[in-house]
């Protein structure tokens, strides 16, 4: 018997860049090979601590590279780490074991010897440049390097598993076991999909047997994503459809099925991870911590290059999923609703423009037939408000919460009418919050409320008052924006963002558009020809910048344990950011000037 290479040695030999080493050099290195096992949660290196003394090759399991709690990279089987430590002699990255890790490792001295091989060294030079760049950035938030614009097609690891249209559930289960997959596609017209979840929820839980035709429990039509879609779009799709398996198409063919786990791998702190967290909320006690996870996700997405508007879209979807969950808990305890209702998100949550969790703004409206059992809805509202507080949404200091704002449709219509008829200061404030409502859950038809809002345009006085209020948010003159003296801080919300939101709302009401988003409202005004394209483009650009800057500063505050605020200290910004901030505030001022003219606020 020839002494065969040991499994760890042959594995190392097959792993780049070891595969290209000359045999004697490799053999010498392999003689120093060690094997270690590190359970999930172990911290192998800490920034500023002892640098790693070995080069590690992952054989099983996964490792997270982090800095300041921000994920840089997830490494898996066949990938190497430790070389930034070995080359720089510093620990610049936290190395944390994500999944129980079996690793092969080479001592420092052997690694240094191998660096004498030019090809071997060049392999690490590339990775090193990237990791150093990401680890030396000054801001914790900007270090997240996962490329969210990667295409989902890149994540597909294997071709899909198909089964004949007349297969049974038992056939499918056996095929899935043999192939080691968690879903199977049914070759029917149209094609359908069946998953592990379906076997649990639609077969076993329903008392069905293995002879059940698969077609009976499979789902069609398929929710698919093109292979060319960016990963974050696929996330959005999976979130909206609440599915865990997403077939990927290329040129009309299904080239693979992505699981939420695989999407998750693309970013361990992505929306899928938080969504799974929401779905795993099995009791009300486990709601706590949700807010922190959303903040982590927002940080990862921001650093991954998504703008604040796209991030807000994800946050809104997640918050909606959470409200659904909470309503299910409540209904399980309280019983069926006596009549249909709608749970409304108000303000920024209604416009889907909330990024970090801010105060709750919500309301409950129910069908008039439910009035006889008003108490049921009051208890429901109280429960949901309390649970949302538990999840990390602070109670609204102004009290715009369902526990107070609950009533039948007739009452709500009267209230909306009242704001329109008598636009005093309090009515204007409330109209601004309530007119941005969005239905999050419930089956009640809200057309009557939309009909009232649509009459706003017939009452020019109201629009004029609303526009005047919008001009009350005053951006500082850019001449006054100085590092020392003058205005050294800017309130990004009151001196910028809120002004754009309020102006856009006026245009939206005038146009009777159902769009709630600030940018959509501005675009509608441009398309209708009542606002010039340049002003819209500049204001939209400024709005995005202000929101992005605010989110970044807030996330930094959260990471450093300070309460997030809307204040931006000019000294804390780079020269480029200061200059963009001035541009943005100038665009806000221009937008206000246009609105002053259009809504005749001076009359």
């Amino acid at each position: 018997m020839a002494a065969a290479a040991l499994d760890p040695v042959s594995y190392l030999r097959a792993t780049p860049p070891f595969h290209a080493l000359p045999q004697p050099l490799f053999d010498a290195a392999a003689a120093s090979l060690e094997v270690g096992y590190y359970p999930a949660g172990s911290r192998l290196a800490r920034v500023g601590g002892e640098p790693l003394a070995h080069l590690y090759v992952i054989r099983k399991g996964a490792v997270r590279l982090e800095r300041d709690g921000q994920l840089l990279q997830v490494l898996e089987e066949g990938e190497t780490f430790g070389y930034t430590s070995l080359i720089t002699r510093k620990a610049t990255i936290d190395v944390v074991v994500e999944d129980d890790l079996l690793a092969y490792r080479l001592p420092d001295a052997e690694f240094q010897r191998l660096l004498g091989d030019a090809q071997f060294a060049s392999h690490f030079a590339v990775g090193l440049a990237e990791r150093l760049k990401s680890s030396l950035e000054h801001s914790a938030i900007t270090t997240f390097q996962a490329d969210l614009s990667r295409q989902v097609g890149d994540l597909v690891r294997r071709t899909p598993v198909w089964i004949a249209a007349d297969a049974t559930v038992g056939d499918a289960a056996r095929l899935m076991r043999a192939e080691g997959v968690s879903s199977v596609l049914l070759r029917a017209d149209p094609p359908a999909i069946a998953t592990d979840h379906d076997f649990r929820n639609r077969v076993l839980a329903e008392g069905l047997g293995p002879d059940t035709p698969l077609a009976r429990i499979a789902t069609s039509p398929l929710r698919t994503t093109p292979a060319t879609a960016p990963i974050h779009e696929a996330w959005g799709l999976a979130l909206d459809a609440r599915v865990h398996h997403l077939p990927v198409t290329r040129g009309g063919d299904i080239v693979g099925v992505l699981t939420s786990g695989e999407l998750l791998r693309a970013s361990a702190q992505g929306p899928m991870a938080v969504l799974r967290g929401v779905e795993r909320v099995s009791t009300r006690e486990s709601l706590a911590g949700y807010g922190r996870r959303v903040a982590e996700m927002a940080g990862a997405l921001l650093a991954g290059g998504l703008d604040a508007a796209a991030i807000a879209g994800f946050v809104a979807r997640l918050n909606d999923a959470l409200v659904h969950r909470i309503l299910r808990f409540a209904e399980a305890d309280l019983g069926e609703p006596p009549a249909p209702y709608a749970w409304l998100a108000l303000g920024s949550e209604g416009r889907r423009e909330q990024t970090l969790l801010t105060d709750q703004d919500n309301a409950l409206v129910y069908a008039d037939e439910g009035e006889a059992r008003r108490a049921w809805y009051e208890v429901l509202a109280e429960r949901v408000n309390a649970d949302l507080e538990l999840a990390g949404f602070p109670a609204c200091p102004g009290g715009y919460m369902a526990r107070r704002w609950v009533g039948p449709m007739a009452e709500w219509r009267g209230r909306f009418d009242g704001w329109l008829d008598a636009p005093g200061p309090q009515a204007l404030l409330e109209a601004a919050i309530f007119f941005d409502y969005r239905r999050v859950a419930g089956r009640l038809d809200l057309a009557p409320l939309d009909a009232v809002i649509a009459t706003a345009v017939d009452r020019p006085v109201l629009l004029r008052f609303l526009a005047r209020a919008a001009l009350g948010f005053r951006p500082p003159a850019s001449l006054l924006l100085r590092l020392r003296g003058g205005s050294t801080t800017v309130d990004l919300k009151l001196q910028g963002i809120a002004a754009v939101v309020a102006v856009a709302r006026c245009y939206g009401l005038e146009l009777r558009t159902e769009a709630r988003g600030t940018l959509e409202r501005l675009e509608a005004a441009r398309d209708a020809g009542i606002l010039d394209g340049d002003a819209v483009a500049a204001a939209a650009e400024g709005f995005r910048f202000l929101n992005g800057l605010r989110l970044r500063l807030q996330l930094r505050a959260v990471a450093e344990g300070r309460p997030p605020s809307n204040e931006a200290a000019l000294a804390a910004l780079s020269a480029m950011e200061r200059s963009r901030l001035k541009d943005a505030l100038r665009a806000v001022k221009t937008l206000q000037d246009r609105a002053a003219f259009h809504f005749k606020t001076d009359f």
């Binding site: 040991l6 392999a30 003689a31 090979l33 060690e34 094997v35």
Partner: protein
């Protein structure tokens, strides 16, 4: 006595596997030895020792065992005799812990071989990964009494797979010693053992 046992990683463990001509220590031959040390919680592949052994006169090699270890007479004919190999084992095991998967068989063969060669068996503390598997199984049963009472998985390859370790080619003495040592690291962690005493 309670605190006299050393922290587990301060001990040196020699993971050892024998290929034999059968399961009967009195009758069957030792055909191969593979062993490697675990120092400070890490397997040292470079210090691995492996050798084939020339079967002694009168010792049997059953056809079934050949299927398993794939060693035929031609392979072991030129190998060193057991008498030359045993001092290599003795030197390594001195002051160390012997780590094996299913100790009774290996211990039977080793003790007998040492005695036959007129050598003193160094009597190292023994850690048996099968015993650790049984302990882990018993603990899980206590924690989850509602789970079905499947018999515990004790086969080396199957146990590794169950605990998330990669598949290695079985039945090469040194590979099995490596496989056993890795399994040991996982079981040590799973049992939360901090001291050698909790492992023997």
């Amino acid at each position: 006595m309670l605190f006299s046992s050393p922290p587990w990683e301060s001990a040196v463990y020699w993971s050892l596997d024998l290929e034999t001509g059968g399961l009967d220590a009195r009758r069957d031959a030792i055909l191969a030895v593979g062993m490697l040390p675990v120092r400070e919680g890490h397997l040292r592949l470079g210090e691995a020792y492996r050798t084939l052994v020339r079967p002694e006169q009168g010792k049997a090699v059953s056809p079934r065992s050949v299927q398993a270890h794939q060693l035929v007479a031609g392979d072991t004919r030129g190998a060193p005799a057991l008498a030359e190999v045993l001092p290599e084992l003795e030197r390594r095991l001195r002051g160390a812990v012997l780590l094996v998967h299913h100790a009774p068989i290996e211990l039977g063969f080793l003790k007998r071989a040492f005695r036959a060669a007129g050598l003193r068996w160094p009597a190292p503390p023994v850690v048996d990964t099968v015993k650790l598997l049984l302990r882990l199984d018993a603990r899980e049963r206590r924690r989850f009494p509602e789970l079905p009472a499947d018999p515990p998985v004790l086969n080396l390859s199957a146990a590794r797979r169950r605990l998330g370790l990669p598949d290695y080619q079985a039945h090469d003495a040194l590979t099995d010693a490596v496989a056993t040592a890795e399994l040991f690291l996982v079981l040590r962690e799973a049992l939360g053992a901090r001291r050698l005493r909790e492992l023997t």
